[in-house]
Amino acid sequence: MKTFKIGGVHPRENKITAGQPITVAPLPQQAVILLSQHIGAPAQCIVEKGDSVKVGTLLAKANGFVSANIHSPVSGTIAKIDTVADGSGYQKPAIYINVEGDEWNESIDRSEELIKECNLDAQAIIDKIDQMGIVGIGGATFPTKVKLMPPPNMKPEVLIINAVECEPYLTNDHALMMAKADQIIVGIEILMKAVRVERTFIGIEANKPDAIELFKQKTQNRKDIEVVSLQCRYPQGGEKQLIDAVIGRQVASGALPVSTGAIVQNVATAHAVYEAVQKNKPLIERVVTVTGKSLARPGNYLARMGMPISQLIEVAGGMPQDTGKIVLGGPMMGRATANIDTPTGKGTSGILVIPESEAHRHEPSPCIRCAKCVSACPMGLEPYLLSKAVAIGNLEIAEERNIYDCIECGCCSYSCPAHRPLLDYIRQGKGKVMAIMRSRAAEKK
């Protein structure tokens, strides 16, 4: 079975919500819409206090090339435009909407009917995706239209659909694949048309045999879409690792992934593209896996953006007594939060409630140079060395040893028997080194 070539780990999968169908979560009473639900500049608010909005009304416009439109996920009245503490606890600009009923914009086609035909040309498709505020909803929330418009000197050859879901616990993509296979395939066709490629691989990890079976069956008569079953290994869902696993090409250090000729899109993004292009539906809701060993009703919930995570946890059976940590996303790359009132956004793939017994980090002990981090690193770096270099402030060594290649997957900290916070330091150093490199490049110009 195919997989990527360097490093990687296989954490316990803990996919307790696997096989659970998508349940629609109730609407919140007040939705709080962050203006920054994507990588890049926060969107520019275009509504005012007191305005009434419907589901799908444009609330904020993309502010620059790497940015995305934000639409209203609920109908009601704008209560205020203020700040809200996001998952990190820092105050971020946000729009508060008091929810009244559930009235949708007329332009959105809410029927279940599958529309296969798409008569738009590539540019029109990309414009539509841009308009509807689609971002990569695998977690990175990079605006999709930017990825669909590679630099003119790079010609994409294949499209790779990321249906790997290598993060433990998360099953939102799996649930979506089982429920919306036809829509996803139409979404893939649209994406292929947008980037003008003839061939698509759907990468699915072997722990989802039902999804592999379903997609193989749906695509058995076609030559342009191929399902690739991949060995379960983290971080296979990383863009670079996935390209390596599926077509055996490695992105050079510092290069764009598209330089290998592959464009990677998440499977849920493909579904969002279908809804945007065929149904005129902006990205206002997504499947969120609310999971945890002590939750009463863990599941895959279709939730509107802007719902406080405490309400989603309530829907899943309420906050367990023994909760020790709440993570937005999966346990390997998700962000722990102390703020249970933080609203969900386009990038919230999961809410993981970890019981206290499993939530603590162990006290670090001295590095015994066991080299487990070196073997685990999927980028071929030396985490022990980088982490130490950053801790003692020697950024030259860190740069010389390619700290900027780090994808922050966490395999090093995960495998360290001394429980050293390797990634904590490397992430910090990577930020600093990249800032130095940028300022150096700017000076040269």
Partner: protein, 326 residues
Amino acid sequence: MNKLIVSPSPHTHSGLSTAQCMYGVLIALIPTFLISIYFFGIDALLVTTTAVIACLLFEFLIQKYLLKKAPTLGDGTAILTGVLLAFNLPASIPLWIVVIGALFAIGVGKMAFGGLGNNIFNPALAGRIFLLISFPQQMTTWPTPAPWGASVDAVTGPTTLNILKRGNIEEIANIDVINTLIGNSGGSFGEVGAIALIIGFVYLLWRKIITWHIPVSIILTVFLFSFAVTIKEGLEYAIIFAELQIFSGGLLLGAIFMATDYVTSPMTRGGMILYGILIGIITVVIRLWGAYPEGMSFAIFIMNGATPLINKYMKPKRFGEVVKHG
């Protein structure tokens, strides 16, 4: 509800801790320990116990009273050092020498460099080499193995390596390879049972505590190198000679348990293989042309010293370095 915990990602761990690695190695040494008790009797047990207790005691005293920090005896590293030191000693050695060896191993080999993780040389090996140089008489007096029940023979027998070194072809041809495999031969009591050591190796690989790179590269190098230098004496002889080189002396114990010591071995796969090959070459050179019959300890010791250099120059294969194809 309790206060929530916040930390950077990842929020999960493989569960393998330093102590578990160390205890894993100890478990892997159990078959060897049993074999040594079978052949060397109560002496093997006494030497091991003394070494372990002495190592633990010295580690405790140094950490508590010299370094003034909380002792970390629970991580199993001092126990492991004690066991490995003992396994590298003859069963008949006076116990006070074992204590001196333990003091040197822990005090000089480990703590003087800054404790766990900072030592350049494998502490057990440092202890053994110190004893070998300081007490050459006691350190090279090997009791003849006698299966459990039989009275332990006080007469010291030649080790297989002594015979190999003498290079008498007839004598070598008479050595029973089976005896070296099960451990019925002279030598330090932890190094004689080849099969038991290999069982331990398989266990370590299965638990993913070590990788195959260092042991396999050492063993292959020793085999090929000693085969190459004796091939002129005939193919059959060369094979037996090379086989005996592997199964005798501290080679397997060294290759599997001493050279793979995390702290003192290289970090990258390539570095590990280079380290293994060089240990193999140095071992054979010392065994065949050096003053000592056994060269494994010295070979590992020398390469321990070269490890920082290997770490500096042998970098892991980076992602994206592979030539693009397709």
